[in-house]
């Protein structure tokens, strides 16, 4: 059995430090796992095996020197391989954002979150698949290929960070970075049975994240267990002078000790347990809430009355911002370019031929929402309702410390189910959109399985900068449950 890829992030760090295995061995193990499973999963868009092995050798010599002298603290994740969603720039590695319009873009800089992890010692294995420009809930909108759910290859892994979630679920990486604009970390984490955090808006720098909906975009992380997600979060969070919207708030001190949740007030929002959600999803989430109660938490009902408006508000604000964010892809600066006789011809053809249908749909939606004569009725009105949604959360967090809710109405749906019905696809995000609109953090972890053997996730939402409460509750939960230790059967099958 492959022992290395089966380890959690913390176990991997420990093994590298004690010298149980080298960073080169770890990188090689993950590359082999990727090679084995990638034909079934298509979790990656680009791989960087040579660079990764070269970095591993450097890490190994630093680890060896450190073991010898014992002095000079080494970076916390030295020699640990990770996967990065292909909307985050890594200097020198192609970054496509899942789009054919950026097929050959090699950024000369790294995203701040990536840079902080590189400083912490990680090694980038590759860039994971995503819906084009992170627009989607299934990774089916990728301009490259569809990623499959490791638990069932006929199912989607969720999206848009489906590549990162599938990679972690299938032990192709011990952890991964993702981005979440309307649920793009939380929903794939739930669909793939792993843990993931969407931090408070402004907690992690967006510098180097290819923008989709700038006022909603958050960089976050996936790992098998909450404590590992918390570790990565603690390394990437904090003010960045290159992002004017990143908050100047003290560096997080994540303290996970204990599983006692006495005094914790958990809110159950009426609006998230509605007709139409899959019975097994509701049952698993309610059971998980009971587990929190047994750990000492007090549970009470809360109301987030404007929840039903989150979907229309989101689909005005995010596309409006996207319509401007994607204007730079005009065929002038980034290859490939579709040649034409005139400047406008180059714009039309490049964008027409290289953007996918969903991206075009959202650019048109957003352009319309911002147009003269429509702005007040659409974008302007959406901003006002967004304020109401934010107020819902503020009022709820006067009564409770966190809110527990399902992540999505169902478990992973079959590939192709929503391909002709964008609205049905948009409805997949109804429970995740409000946190983005309000800017509050959301933590997802597995709480059970449905009858088809597909994972069910639960999300905990907290007040702004309340990640530590979420991690504490999630970690306590995982100390008394083992859902996060379950792995898709395909991992073992691949070895037999």
């Amino acid at each position: 059995m492959n022992t290395i890829t089966g380890l959690t992030l913390s176990q991997l760090v420990h093994g590298l430090r004690t010298g149980d295995f080298s960073s080169r061995e770890a990188v090689q193990a993950y590359l082999e796992q990727i090679e084995r499973l990638e034909p079934n999963l298509h979790a990656f868009i680009s791989l960087a095996p040579e660079q990764a092995l070269a970095q591993a050798d450097i890490a190994d010599s630093r680890l060896a020197a450190w073991r010898k002298s014992g002095e000079n603290p080494i970076p916390p994740l030295l020699g640990v391989p990770m996967a990065i969603k292909d909307v985050l720039c890594v200097a020198g590695l192609r970054c496509t954002a899942g789009s054919r319009i950026l097929e050959n873009f090699i950024p000369p800089f790294s995203a701040t979150a990536v840079e902080r992890l590189l400083e912490a010692g990680i090694i980038v294995l590759g860039k994971t698949n995503t819906d084009e420009f992170a627009m989607g809930s299934s990774t089916e909108n990728s301009g490259y290929w569809v990623t499959h759910n490791p638990w069932n290859l006929e199912r989607v892994p969720g999206g848009s960070s489906g590549g990162s979630a599938a990679a972690v679920a299938a032990d192709m990486a011990p952890a991964a970075l993702g981005s979440d604009t309307g649920g793009s970390i939380r929903q794939p984490a739930a669909f793939c049975g792993i843990s993931g955090i969407k931090p408070t808006y402004g907690r992690v720098s967006r510098y180097g994240l290819i923008a989709y909906g700038s006022s909603l975009d958050c960089v976050g992380a996936f790992a098998r267990q909450v404590s590992d997600v918390a570790l990565i979060y603690s390394l990437i969070a904090g003010h960045d002078e290159r992002d004017a919207t990143s908050m100047d708030y003290p560096k997080p001190q994540v303290n996970l000790n204990g599983k006692d949740l006495k005094g914790l007030r958990v809110g159950i929002p009426d609006e998230y347990f509605i007709a139409g959600i899959q019975a097994e999803v509701e049952a698993s989430v309610r059971e998980a809430i009971q587990v929190l109660q047994t750990l000492g938490a007090a549970v009470e009902r809360v109301s987030l009355p404007h929840t039903e408006y989150a979907l229309p508000v989101y689909y005005l604000i995010a596309p409006a911002e996207a319509s401007a964010n994607l204007a730079r892809f005009d065929g002038i600066r980034y290859e490939p370019r579709s040649e034409a006789e005139s400047m406008w011809g180059v714009f039309y053809r490049t964008r027409g031929e290289r953007f996918g249908a969903e991206v075009k749909r959202r650019i048109m939606l957003g352009t319309y929402a911002l147009s003269a004569g429509y702005y007040d009725a659409y974008y302007g009105q959406a901003q006002k309702v967004r304020t109401l949604i934010k107020t819902d959360f503020e009022q709820a967090f006067e009564k409770v410390d966190l809110i527990a809710a399902p992540v999505a109405p169902s478990t992973a749906f079959p590939i192709g189910r929503h391909s002709d019905d964008p609205l049905a696809m948009y409805l997949e995000d109804i429970f995740t959109l409000p946190a983005n609109l309000a800017g509050v953090p959301g933590l997802v972890f597995p709480v059970g399985f449905d009858a088809n053997g597909l994972p069910v996730g639960m999300q905990l939402m907290g007040p702004h900068f309340g990640e530590d409460i979420l991690f504490k509750a999630g970690h306590a939960y995982q100390q008394v449950t083992d859902w996060h230790q379950r792995k898709p059967p395909l991992i073992d099958k691949a070895f037999t």
Partner: protein, 498 residues
Amino acid sequence: MSNIYEPVIGLEVHAELATRSKMFCACPVVDTTQAEPNSAVCPVCAGMPGVLPVVNQKAVEFALRVALALACEIAPSSLFARKNYFYPDLPKGYQISQYENPLAVNGRLTILTSQGEKVVRIRRVHLEEDTGKLTHIAESGNGSINEIRPAHTLIDLNRAGVPLLEIVSEPDMHSAEEVGAYARALHSLLRYLKVNSGDMQKGAMRIEPNISIRPAGSQTFGTRCEIKNLNTFRGLERAVDFEIRRQSALLDEGKVVEQETRGWIDDQGITVTQRSKEEAHDYRYFPEPDLPPLVLDRAWVEEILASLPELPISRLHRFQEQYKLSAYDAEVLTAEQETADYYEAAVAAAPQVAPKVIANWICGELFSLLNQTGMTLAECPVTPRALAALIFLVTSGEINLGTGKVVLAEMFHSGQSAEAIIASRGLRQISDSSAIAGMVQQVLKNNPEQVQSYLAGKTGIAQWLFGQVMKAAKGQANPQVVRQELEKQLNAMINNGY
């Protein structure tokens, strides 16, 4: 018969802020006419995917200097916005500007026209970023098909992201003269505040007038046309004049003025249609989500207000009052801060000389020397103190005015002091009346015919005789003494019964 129309004109001015770095990144601001293309570009100003803007505090400070100098109300919190349009000189596909909630509103600028002073209201002052520069290259080649280079366009992003200040006036102007005066007053103000290079040739200040006309006495506005990107005062005035005449002719013929954007063709002296109303962009402005509201610390704004220099119009008023200068002289001397400083330094160095006399020397002789050599005052080899010393030598009678001018030219070219030039060339003025009396006597003796003509009543000949005396004195005689002595001796002749 032509009707009488009243032109109504407002101006949008774009001024580059002379900060060291760009508006939203750390790239240096370079002279785009000199620097290697795309040498001052980073991922942020190139609009690469994933980058974010960060506001340059110095640009905000410069903008506040201008807004405060224009007596604007400063918004405690203002918003940046995205102005969306596609063009290859705009790397992000939108320009970061300000739209709703600009930095400052409701200011005023005093301008000087032949009718006197006038206040033009300022509607708003806001910050934005400049675009890159496109150079269109025509097809070229040497005839061989392989050598032909098709027409193409080069993009230089050095200017992309340079901070721009947009200053919008109310439509308070009614003639090309007022428009010119406004533009000059603003140019002068920006230079005083040291926020703009003032180099209009290089596009440091671009002016866009909005012009409409209406029947004299009417209170409603006519349809306006905007003329894009004028960068000389003369071109601005000519373009406005042309546009007023064009619109008047249209209305006289019973036609209508179409709302449109027009361009000025300088060598033909005409404006032409660039973009009609139908083709006008919908910029789809919305608040820039990458930048939080620009919240200003009140104490900082107060500090900037307190640090403003004396502004051109105040200085002009003071010069008129304190130095008894005409409005014209005061305007000329205060248009540039260097000139005003130079003048005041010269005045301070020559307390015995009337300030008006010093003004005449600077506006006359010194400016003409600078013009001839193409130098600026900053490069002038004659210091205010040296000029003051020269003027004092003239007013105290040490040398006469003509010699003074010759000496100034010499000072200008050699950098020597007036004293040194006068001493080395023996130019000191002869004021000794007995010496001059002798010269006069000699001249009268040598020119009996002319003397006779004078005595016969041709008094005009006295000027010729004066010239002869000055010539004999090699120009160094005190002309007043010569005149007195000449008059005295000729009168004596008359009295003696010639």
